[in-house]
Symmetry: C2
Subunit: 352 residues, 2 copies
DNA sequence: TTGAAAGCGCTAACAC
DNA sequence: GTGTTAGCGCTTTCAA
């Protein structure tokens, strides 16, 4: 904790009787330096424990070598994996990460965007809250590219890297229909975000295609706790009540599609309490393929999300935008397929 | 994406025919400015869309208003909660967060510490990998306080904010002993980190105290996957094999204490496959109280970790150190109690 | 190959 | 109250 003076280029220069400039060039590995000088400089730098000042450099190069990462909730396991993937890819590419958490609050998001602007980060990756895109637009206008993660924003012309939830929802719905479901429930959090909207759309779309073989369907919205309090993890408790209501309306051939595996687990309990068995009496499908899902009783059929792929791609996408070669190119939406992992909580027709 | 010139103090000054300095003072809300001038400046700043340049300011104030947060693995749900708590507290206190991920690799950690040094962050919060503390010491020497999170480091004189794992382990062990366990298994990841060491110590300590009522005990180390690959989430699959071995050695009065809830879940399956029932034939205790645990079958007895408290306290601790008022004060270890949440995977004596 | 001068955008010290 | 000067640590002309 010795608040010792930190060596600067000037210190090295002084002690070697060189100009600051030469020292800078020597350390930067530029050509216009004699091998002898370079050696002396490097040695003195080591001796003095010199550490370059990134801020000073950034100020002049106008290059922060930093990416802003804006996440609604790090406790969402999908976002946690996204953070890892993005951090890793960013690091490989030489970028540091400024992490900001919005807790799904627009007010926070505005503040955060402003903060990123002040820092002059080179680019921003963001899971947007929804409602209000002007702060993102502002970043873009000031020359900071923004790439959206997982959630789309209608009123912002920005790249998006995410999941093809429409397709995955269709896939899951078709799966339970094929297994004989005639009464379907979709349980989603009531956040007005594109992933939920897309899954609902995929659900409806598929049901329309199979109208003859469907008796009834319901989209249940679980009130989110996230708007009130801070960044809470998902919790089966959130869907338990809904699960109980559904449990009362079970007829042979019922299927429940849950927006995430935690919701599915809440439903598991509600069903168990009524003595209903999965998949014999009810089929259940989750979303996210969280590590616990394969170990539930019965193992949960769910959708695996390509978090690593998304994180990596998003960073690359952002870097392309930052390179400036793509200016004026239309926003790109890259949606990756999510894989349905079939386990014992649903059954194929053949098994019946 | 218009790479439009960003307004600076000079722009405002020029357009108002004032000195840069006056504008700076006006915007900073300092006293030595006439109300009229201030009003004009603020208006012009708005008109020009002025955004202060944090780096430039930091360069002169020698105050980055940034904290470094070093995490081994954001997909660890405990660390995810820690990240949320720290980000929130930091933000409240006016600090931004630079997030670095080490993936439990010392090489990464070194690089990360260097990076933080270059950025000149004001303080660092870190979950250390273990082995090698010189890079942290280097940060301290250059005047950047370091507060350790969750894991202690023998060879570093730094504050630590974490969990009293020794106590929680004792508590859990006593709990299963009280419920009649005579053969005990402790399952931990084989990382050489203080939390694991402390839990093992608590386990042994308690067993020694109850030597008469214990027939046998085993500490099983699950080979970690984290050293090889990137930041993977915990997975019940990791403990499943160990669980199977244990399942073969079950006698009446067996208890399994798992290092985390995911490990406990892996054991659940292994036991179920042998037709062993919990808690009648085996008691199981987890660690971490992850949201799924209460919804397992049977609900898992586990230890709740005070992540929010730790995050908040750690930030405050760091800020005190940064204030410089505590220089030369001995390193402080703040360990918070973890609460044992008793559910149906263990049984109190009375129930027998 | 090296150095001098200028400046990134801002704040701090002191004069006026 | 306001302006002038200086400087944070670095890179980038441009001369020498």
């Amino acid at each position: 904790m010795t608040p010792r003076h930190r060596a600067t280029l000037r210190d090295i220069a002084a002690s070697l009787d060189l100009s600051v400039n030469t020292v800078s060039r020597a350390l930067a590995g530029k050509d216009a330096v004699s091998p002898v000088t370079r050696e002396r400089v490097e040695q003195e730098a080591r001796r003095l424990g010199y550490v370059p000042n990134t801020m000073a450099r950034s100020l002049v190069t106008r290059n922060a070598m930093t990416l802003g990462l804006v996440i609604t909730n790090p406790s969402n396991p999908f976002y946690a994996r996204l953070i890892s993937a993005i951090e890793e890819r960013g690091r490989v590419r030489g970028y540091s990460l400024m992490l900001m958490v919005t807790e799904d609050s627009v007010a926070n998001e505005r503040r955060v965007a402003e903060e990123l602007l002040r820092w002059g980060v080179d680019g921003v990756l963001a899971v947007p809250v929804q409602h209000g895109a002007d702060h993102w637009a502002r970043l873009q206008e000031s020359g900071t590219p923004v790439v959206l993660l997982n959630r789309d924003l209608d009123d912002l012309a920005a790249d998006l890297v995410g999941v093809d939830y429409f397709a995955s929802s269709r896939r899951a719905t078709e799966h339970v229909l094929a297994a004989g479901a005639r009464r379907l429930f979709l349980i989603e959090e009531d956040l007005e975000i594109s992933p939920v909207a897309e899954r609902v759309r995929g659900f409806h779309h598929t049901l329309r295609e199979h109208a003859d073989s469907v008796d009834s369907y319901t989209v249940a919205r679980v009130p989110t706790r996230r708007r009130e309090s801070s960044s809470l993890p998902w919790d089966p408790a959130d869907s338990y009540e809904i699960g109980r209501e559904i449990a009362e309306r079970i007829v042979p051939g019922t299927a429940v599609l849950a927006g995430n595996d935690y919701f599915a687990l809440g439903v598991y309990r509600a069903l168990a309490e009524r003595g209903l068995s999965i998949p014999e009496e009810v089929a259940v499908v989750g979303n996210g393929d969280h590590p616990f899902s394969a170990y539930l009783n019965p193992p949960l059929t769910t959708v695996r999300l390509p978090a690593e792929q998304i994180g990596t791609t998003a960073v690359d996408r952002l870097l392309s935008r930052m390179s400036g070669q793509e200016t004026d190119k239309e926003p790109v939406h890259e949606l990756f397929a999510a894989e349905l992992i079939v386990r014992s909580s649903t059954r194929a027709r053949e098994d019946l």
